[in-house]
Symmetry: C2
Subunit: 576 residues, 2 copies
């Protein structure tokens, strides 16, 4: 019981040895990451179609829950681009964007993502991530990056361009091109330019001006916040919002609170419609989180507990949903900021939560005049890490099947929708894998003269015996290739009427599942009917143990030989 509790809440372990120097390091890191989180929170809330304040809520309680449950030292949950657009796309199918129903459904989705992660973590189902192959992931993420770009253009152009999918976007853009709002476009492009310059040149410039490294670094990281403050000041001063520039507007002051009742009122049909998206978001969240955590842990030669991470992120999403926010996950940019700023323990997350709570309590009135176009610019500037076309030609060269899965996922995500794209990608990579596995390499083997070795007759000068057919199966036998083995043995025998013994050399067979056992049974029966004996050689220990639990060995017409050479010698002598 005790160990289970510390498994689920590792804070009980590291909290006992937490000291003042760790606190100082964590405090610095927290302050830096808060500067980054404030603009990100507002921007990704907008991307998810949610009120700006829910972006702050998405970090406060989830951060606390995560810090209590996580095992890694530097991750922290919060809003992120990919999850926000997935949430928007999923909830958009069950509620109108901006409606009260939409906000409730987004929170319900976060609760469902949380429960999915908690269940997967509790049942140690980290292998779920194995279903998403790298090409499918990269095709999906690149297409999502393009969809995010399209969705943000309306804020920069100041005209409502629809962006559910590429064809809709192109049509809608054509219709709205005449209605671009000049001031909005100027503010949007201006802040994009400033953000780009700050990212590229601010830090080196400040260093040249003699600013200490730490301060220059901090200024670089805070540049989105600086651009936001500048835009608020200008908007306020020049009265831009009167001239049609869309601003964030009133943000309620205060701390997040539990919103259970509206969530319970959600129709069952909505919950059902959100099931598949919730599962996909949970798996994507887990993959992102684990690859970030593994990268960090490897640098420090630490271990992470994959299932604890999954549960912690589940708890964080549950907390996000129950406080009225949307689905959250780890972010690579925030994680590396925490690590570079010296954050050492999950306590950094607790301190960040306090700083964000203070922001929600006292600073939200200052954000009234923040232009939407500037928030859109902060999203657009960070999309470079998502959109990546370089892997397409690499996969084309390396493996056509992988390229096909990638291209399919990319195209369907962009042309139809995110959930269909990701689902089809998963199905395609599974189908391609089964297709490849369904024709394992099976070699006819013969004796290398003067030795006890047996090699492929097509590649080596070997000796075979006319009454004996030796076959080496270079793969585990399971349902996808069981029938191929039947077919292959049938084919080999049709060409060799004089064969009386078939010997399967099982060196590379790590497993024989029930389907393959059934195939072996039917191969055995057919061979028997044709007057041919079936033998096995070099069966591995675990495979043999399992075969003993069936009646296959009792009924076998032939024998099981320790080595292929023993089999051939015994059968060749018996044939004389």
């Amino acid at each position: 019981m005790r160990s289970t509790l510390t498994d689920w809440f590792p804070i009980l372990r590291w909290g006992q040895v937490y000291d003042r120097s760790q606190f100082a390091a964590d405090l610095t890191a927290s302050a830096v990451v808060t500067l980054l989180l404030i603009p990100q929170s507002l921007a990704y809330a907008m991307l998810a179609g949610m009120p700006a304040v829910t972006g702050l809520y998405a970090s406060i309680v989830p951060m606390v829950i995560y810090a209590l449950m996580c095992s890694s030292t530097v991750l922290g949950p919060g809003p992120a681009a990919l999850r926000s657009i997935m949430s928007l796309a999923a909830v958009g199918t069950v509620a109108t964007a901006g409606s009260a129903d939409f906000i409730v459904a987004s929170a319900v989705l976060a609760v469902m993502v949380g429960l999915a992660l908690l269940i997967m973590g509790g049942l140690r189902m980290g292998f779920m991530a194995s279903f998403l192959s790298q090409p499918v992931l990269s095709g999906f993420i690149t297409a999502s990056g393009l969809l995010i770009t399209m969705s943000q253009l309306k804020h920069v152009l100041g005209t409502p361009v629809a962006s559910n999918d590429l064809p809709t976007f192109v049509r809608s853009l054509g219709q709205h091109l005449g209605q671009i709002h000049g001031l909005t476009l100027a503010v949007g492009l201006g802040s994009l330019l400033l953000l780009w310059l700050a990212r590229r040149s601010l830090k080196p410039l400040l260093r040249q001006l003699g600013v200490p490294a730490v301060a220059a670094d901090l200024a670089g990281k805070a540049s989105p916040l600086l651009v936001i403050l500048l835009s608020i000041a200008l908007t306020n001063w020049l009265n831009w919002s009167q001239q049609g520039l869309a601003v964030v507007g009133d943000i309620p002051q205060g701390l997040p609170s539990l919103v259970i009742e509206p969530l319970l009122g959600i129709p069952l049909a909505t919950v059902q419609a959100l099931m598949v998206p919730a599962l996909l978001i949970a798996v994507m969240t887990f993959i992102e989180q684990i690859s970030i955590a593994q990268g960090m842990a490897a640098k420090r030669r630490e271990r992470i507990d994959v299932n604890a991470e999954m549960r912690a992120m589940g708890g964080a999403n549950l907390a996000a949903g129950l406080t009225g926010a949307f689905a959250v996950g780890a972010s690579f940019s925030r994680t590396s900021v925490v690590a570079e700023s010296g954050g050492r323990t999950p306590a950094a997350g607790l301190i960040t939560a306090v700083l964000l709570a203070l922001t929600a309590l006292f600073l939200t009135p200052w954000l009234h005049d923040l232009p939407m176009a500037v928030l859109a610019a902060t999203i657009l500037i960070s999309l470079g890490s998502l959109i990546d076309f370089r892997s397409f030609p690499l996969n084309w060269r390396y493996a056509r099947a992988d390229f096909a899965a990638q291209a399919l996922t990319f195209a369907v995500t962009l042309l139809v929708d995110l959930v269909t794209g990701l689902m089809l990608g998963v199905i395609a990579s599974l189908a391609l894998h089964i297709w490849r596995s369904s024709r394992p390499h099976i070699a006819v083997v013969g004796n290398v003269p003067g030795t006890e070795h047996y090699r492929n007759v097509l590649r080596h000068e070997v000796v075979t015996h006319p009454h004996i057919l030796g076959l080496r199966v270079d793969e585990s036998l399971f349902f996808a290739n069981a029938r191929y083995l039947e077919d292959r043995i049938g084919a080999e025998l049709a060409n060799r009427p004089e064969v009386r013994h078939v010997v399967l050399q099982c060196t590379a067979v790590n497993e024989i599942d029930a389907s393959a056992l059934e195939s072996l049974r039917s191969i055995h029966q057919r061979l028997q009917e044709a007057g041919v004996q079936l033998h096995l050689s070099e069966v591995k220990g675990p495979v043999m143990d399992r075969l003993r639990r069936s009646d296959f060995l009792d009924r076998l017409s032939g024998q099981v030989f320790l080595t292929h050479h023993q089999a051939v010698q015994a059968l060749a002598n018996a044939g004389r």
Copy 2:
């Protein structure tokens, strides 16, 4: 072009050498199989919810098309139990049983099954059958057998018991128990008893009475037809249909004709709803057909062309649908009857089609008084081959994962519906396979002293070098296990701070897909950041060729060694 034509229509090949003795053999076999087919056709039409005459149609034109296109010698398409209940279940979701819409939709389903088989056969997609593992198939077939039993009870009890799924059936049976029709029950049980006795004792009895073997055998096979004729005579004589015994009634006389127009009027939504069922029926049909054909071919040491078989069955289903019948497939009982009766070529199918056409032209008026209860009895008596509970405990002992997939498929098919059951079964076996593949066996290896061999440190007395970590991966690397490799290497290094070189021994790696390459890249980068070099040893030729097409080898911090021993020697010496 010429070769393609004979590929698609093998009759162009064997037709040229067809002679009189073959014809005599084929004629005998056809006569016997027709005796079997007449009751089967009527019964399985009833099971599929279709008019009795469509059962005959389902064999006439499809037999002809199949004979033109098939490569195996003894198969023949016709109605069969499993397909009929799948058709009933699928079409039942889009139309009311017995309505005109239902009949059209059943024909459309047959057309779709035909197109699916033609496409799969044309694209050589026989591997689609690999998705259905043996335990899933057996769980599905056993549950289907129980569902067929439930569906036929209403005809034997003479009261309309609903049977969509087990709970519905149990409820409905309770409600209708008071309304059992005595005469119907008596006729049903009587014919069941007769059929059972005939199957068990007729042939030996006739032989004892001195009847020649051939005639006794024929009488045994014709026993369902004899019971049917007896029941028709009794019903007619004793006027049972006036006393409430349900009979087949009027069957239109005449040959099947093309029914294109009603099929074109089908709503698109219906077609969409039938897509998944059509694909599943196509795959099931293919699997049944191939396992029967492989069994027959193996006995005769012949080869079958899997794709030609699939196309031929596709053509047969297309013909069935276009002549207003339902989905068809091969049947084990009919095939073995043809083989035992000496049928030698697909011409037996052509002759059977002629005999069935004569039946449809002249004999249908005689079937008016055939009791439904007797048809139900002919179905029930043959279900023994479908319902098979023995494999459940066998799978439980042999492999729990396979048992789980089987039990899930069985339960969902019985409790929900056939399509959901089969789909969930497929998903479960894929998930279990990915789960198993996601944790490949990876051994830390060391040198067997005095040799150049390297073995698992846990199983053998071997020597390792503190700066070198040798890992042998016992599986191909692909998306399902790529992340596990990252995790495992991270874990091994966390325990060995003094390691400077990681050498992956790739003896058993037959493939590295794009996901695994990406994992190798990130492993490589993380190792580099931690000051550790990554090396490969014993990479297979094809894997090496493919790696050369990427930039992985160019960037590799370490080297690729021909043998693991060379790697360890070179690195150990360099470390000095």
